[in-house]
Amino acid sequence: MQLFLQVTGFGLVDASILALAAVGFTLQWGVGKFINLAYVYLMMLSAFLDYTLTQTLHLEFWLSAALSIGAVGLVSMGMNHYLVLPLARRGVRFFDLLIAGFGVGIVVEFGLQAIYGENFFQIKVAGTRPLKILGMHLTPSQLVIIGIAVLVMVMLHVLLTKTDIGRAIRAISVNPTLAQSCGVRVDFVLNLLWLMSGVLCGLSGLVLAFDTSLFNSGTSAVELPFILAIAMVGGIGSAYGAMGAALLIGLVSNWVDIVNPQYGIVVAVFAGGLVLLLRPEGLFRSPMASLAGSV
């Protein structure tokens, strides 16, 4: 029981990191209409930028965090605007766009490796002595991560429901042409969407670095199957679905890891594939949701 509770605690931490990552990813897939295979590598970019800013340039912790995350947001937005959209306009087919995205990821991953070498790095955010909460031993670091995730999810909810931009995003996810004729500036909003999801990408990468004691350029790559699975289980393009699915998959894969460390990923991905085959709108949407298009 003790082990179970403890593993649940780890599951919550993983779920937090994955939720931040998956929401950005699913928005890019569902609304931006692009499966961004560079996503996990851009996550690491923010971690490395933060490391350089704090350790080499000695900037203050939260400032450099904000700058790194912002940088990844800008890079994501730039990637869509200057690479993906122009290629799509030239008639490059969808699969080749995936390859282009993969290419960007490769360049980022190995660019980081070329610059930083294969060494491991560390970013500390808070103490490492575990506290006991609800029967689980979690470090202040991990609690900070969970806290950040919850805070950001709430902010996202407010953004999507109460602001004009949020409503515009939801309108575009249902029917871009209709949204445009209703006066929504689709291009502008999409750019903003990429910026937002890029920020989530950067944030999740930074948070991942907080959680792993040592990271290098390849650390985030292992998250790719989980993020894909979460997007599929939650419903492609659904932010709320991604949050729910991240919790589900984060917990379940950690529980399964008790049995065998390799099988967590297998179960997660299996679930994703199954849902995609049998219930493509995801577990959390109604079957007509593709018509309603809720984000």
């Binding site: 499966i35 690479l83 122009p86 290629l87 030239r90 490059v92 969808f94 699969f95 080749d96 995936l98 390859i99 282009a100 993969f102 290419g103 960007v104 490769i106 360049v107 991953e109 190995f110 660019g111 490796q113 070329a114 070498g117 294969e118 790719l224 199957p225 894909l228 699975a229 460390p261 390799q262 990923i265 297998v266 991905v269 299996f270 994703g272 594939g273 995609l276 085959l277």
Partner: protein, 351 residues
């Protein structure tokens, strides 16, 4: 530096990669199927040829795997190809029935990730993360020296590579290849003419699986080691990139692309001074170079260096004029220009 030996290694690498790219060209180029699981077939072929020529695993040794046998020369290779077909069949039966386009790509991507993680993470199944080593090489009795053996191995893979090339060419130029292209262009219309999409796709995927497995097996025999690294998801990228550069749907394009990626980029990197001194940096720079070049080709020349060519029939009886009289032109010559321009009009419907 022994240039001749260097050349044999380049040639060997070329042919091994060629077989893989031909496999990709068959599935992605001819059929338009973004089936990423070919990389699993590559791995499978390598593992099979290894465990069937290494003999049973020795308890307590560094490498542990299931089964194992000491089978004589062509058998492990043949088994490797057969297992490649089997793996391709399983994946194909699972995904080809319903999925198209990017769903297929994502699902096969996930399958690659899962299979890779499981094998990488299970130490005693196929050597786990450490892999297998000491894989025996065939035909050692034919040559005593390293250089001599270099030629033997080159000949070995060159023969297999050329056989695969001929196979692919025949496939592409046959009515089956034609039907495959039609499926790629417009599946609905092809099906409405009676083409069985599932059957044709499954055939292509299975043949592709065999070739990918063969490529993996040869690579394992060549390097005598096999780890999860050469068949990770990342390795899908240069394979597809070779097709993007060379031109998809065209086997000569595939060969050109293979040459460009594995020789020009792969070896060209070694000649940059600051890179060759640091092996880790070298590999990173190679990847970055590939990424930039492939994106560049997608941007500037998405059809590749040698695009797919129009179908032509060389020995057809059609060198008879439009109105049934022999036009006296040499065999192989086109229809007379006058008829083409429509001045001698056989068509009232013009553009």
């Amino acid at each position: 530096m022994n240039w001749v030996f260097y050349a044999t290694t380049l040639g060997t690498v070329f042919f091994i990669n060629l077989i893989l790219i031909l496999s990709v060209n068959l599935q992605l180029g001819l059929l338009g199927l973004p089936n990423l699981s070919f990389i699993i077939c590559l791995g499978a072929g390598a593992y099979v040829v290894s465990i069937f020529s290494l003999g049973p695993a020795v308890p307590g040794s560094l490498q542990q795997y299931f089964f194992g046998a000491f089978l004589p020369f062509p058998i492990p290779l043949i088994l490797a190809a057969l297992v490649g077909v089997a793996v391709a069949f399983i994946v194909g039966a699972l995904v080809l029935y319903r999925m198209r386009g990017h769903t297929l790509a994502v699902i096969t991507l996930i399958i690659v990730l899962v299979v890779w993680s499981v094998i990488n993470g299970t130490p005693n199944f196929l050597g786990g993360a450490n892999g297998l080593f000491g894989i025996p090489q065939p035909f050692h009795s034919l040559a005593g020296t390293t250089l001599g053996y270099g030629f033997v191995f080159l000949g070995y893979v060159a023969v297999l590579g050329c056989l695969c090339f001929v196979f692919n060419q025949r496939f592409f130029k046959s009515p089956l290849g034609r039907a495959a292209r039609a499926l790629r262009e417009n599946e609905q219309a092809a099906v409405a003419l009676g083409k069985d999409a599932y059957r044709i796709r499954l055939i292509a995927v299975m043949c592709g699986g065999a070739m990918a497995a063969l490529s993996g097996a040869l690579l394992a025999q060549y390097s005598m080691i096999w780890t999860p690294s050469p068949w990770s998801l990342d390795e899908v990228f240069p394979a597809i990139g070779a097709m993007i550069v060379g031109g998809r749907g065209n086997n000569w394009g595939a060969a050109l692309g293979t040459f460009f990626v594995s020789i020009v980029i792969g070896q060209g990197i070694q000649w940059i001074p600051f890179v060759s001194s640091d092996p880790g940096l070298g590999s990173a720079v190679q990847w970055i170079g590939e990424g930039v070049i492939f994106i560049g080709f997608l941007w500037f020349r998405p059809r590749g260096l040698l695009p797919e060519r129009k179908a032509r029939w060389d020995h057809s009886p059609r060198r008879v004029g439009a109105f049934g009289e022999a036009d006296g032109s040499r065999p192989g010559e086109g229809v007379r220009p006058l008829e083409r321009s429509g001045l001698v009009s056989d068509s009232a419907v013009s553009a």
